[in-house]
Symmetry: C2
């Protein structure tokens, strides 16, 4: 019997828009460089422009979009440099969290963490991408909860949102998931033995490996996307468009019953 949260929080239209758009961005439904036209979003989501604009301001503050005055919102292109900086901060925060968690973990916590790792292993064997995501999230959720610093958690999750696109890309590379599991097991071991320093370094190492994997994904992406020539007008249409959607699962449908992404979002320029 788990605890139930009986509070009902009224979800406003604006909040729902933010959630849908955020999911669409982190899933890669919108590609880096895409412009988001307000009118098109209105049609897609079936809501009015003021609501859309408020939602866009939220996403702008989260750095999930960039709004250029008189130009409108667009998906930022994440450079390798920028990604490196995010991974650096992530390593710092997750390392600290793991260190603190190691000192506080109870046997029950350890049991739950083992369960998450087992689930991750299962998801890898069955090539279950949603399962992979859920179980790793659960594992890190435990650590963050043990760490007990909500600010840290919040900071980290906004950073993760910005590189989610890359993470999915690299996690779907052949050997990466198995490697990742090993690294997470190392973190678990350190936590189980209450060795804070070891937990920190294991967590840092995990993030650094993830960073390397992301760099590889970057190069793969660039190789595909820019095959030596850079067409000035929307050239390699169908194939390139397919490449732009790395994780195909994008449950991004209109809130109103009569529309289904009529005009695709434009790329930059």
């Amino acid at each position: 019997m788990t605890a139930h949260d009986l509070r009902i929080s009224p979800r406003t239209v604006q909040q729902q828009i933010v959630e849908k758009l955020r999911a669409a961005i982190t899933d890669g439904f919108f590609a880096p460089g895409d412009r988001l036209i307000e009118a098109e979003l209105c049609d897609m989501l079936g809501v009015s422009r003021p609501s859309i604009r408020e939602a866009l301001r939220s996403l702008e503050a989260e750095r999930l979009i960039v709004i250029i005055p008189n130009r409108g919102p667009q998906i930022p292109v994440l450079t390798a440099d920028h990604a490196a900086e995010i991974y650096q901060v992530r390593a710092l925060l997750e390392g600290e969290a793991a260190c603190i968690a190691a000192k506080r973990a109870t046997t029950d916590d350890l049991k739950q963490m083992r369960a998450s790792l087992a689930a991750f292993g299962r998801a890898i064997r069955t090539a279950d991408m949603p399962g992979k995501i859920a179980s790793t999230a659960a594992f890190y959720g435990h650590i963050m909860r043990l760490c007990g610093n909500r600010i840290m958690q919040e900071t980290l999750s906004t950073l993760l949102a910005r590189i989610n696109f890359l993470r999915a890309q690299s996690m779907s590379q052949p050997g990466r998931a198995k490697h990742s599991l090993q690294e997470m097991k190392a973190i678990y071991q350190a936590v189980a033995t209450k060795n804070g320093a070891a937990a920190r370094s294991a967590a840092v190492k995990h993030v650094e490996h993830a960073h390397l994997s992301a760099i590889a994904a970057f190069e793969l992406l660039n190789a595909k996307q820019a095959p030596r020539s850079r067409p000035r007008t929307g050239g390699s249409s169908a194939a390139a468009a397919a490449n732009r959607r790395p994780v195909a699962a994008t449950n991004f449908e209109s809130a109103s019953p009569a529309t289904a992404a009529p005009g695709q979002a434009r790329r930059r320029r």
Copy 2:
């Protein structure tokens, strides 16, 4: 002859509202618990409600305000726990930044940092609060620039905005500024000798002391604000209102020429 940035970036009304409101919040013009009524903000700033609402969404995402559905925006009350978490993350980030900066500082950087410290000392002697703020900001600006991680800088500055209120409070306590100068000199020394580990621990220590000072400010504030009885309707008016504005300098005036904060923002409840 310094480099000139010739780009002109159009400042939209919405951006100006965000900046003004952000300043008003971090300066303490609005007190924790105050509700911000949209209509009143419109009058104060002389702009329309949609613009205000967009700005409020930005500030919400920055965590400078909380918007409760059907209740509207209000200034969050920062609990001691929450502040502690922020100081914890701040220590982590500034420690890392100092460590990296120590390894990269050139003699020219050191010279500029000395200048900032000297300016801080001068500001303390002349009890020049804006000077104190500017010089400490310059000192930390150097470190962050040396560190070179813009994400870290951005993360840190949003965190600092949330505790700015407390910082001003504690920095205006009698001995604190002088103490602070000593700690910053310690950081400088470590950086000058390129001792990364020492720089980190000096920076962490500095933040921890700032945290202790903030806790003291907290208790002082609570003692003043809740003198045993809690009047249900706006009771102790003038004196309490004065207490709610720790740093009196709040250049928060209306953008339209004919208003000057007509009805004061309401407190919570």
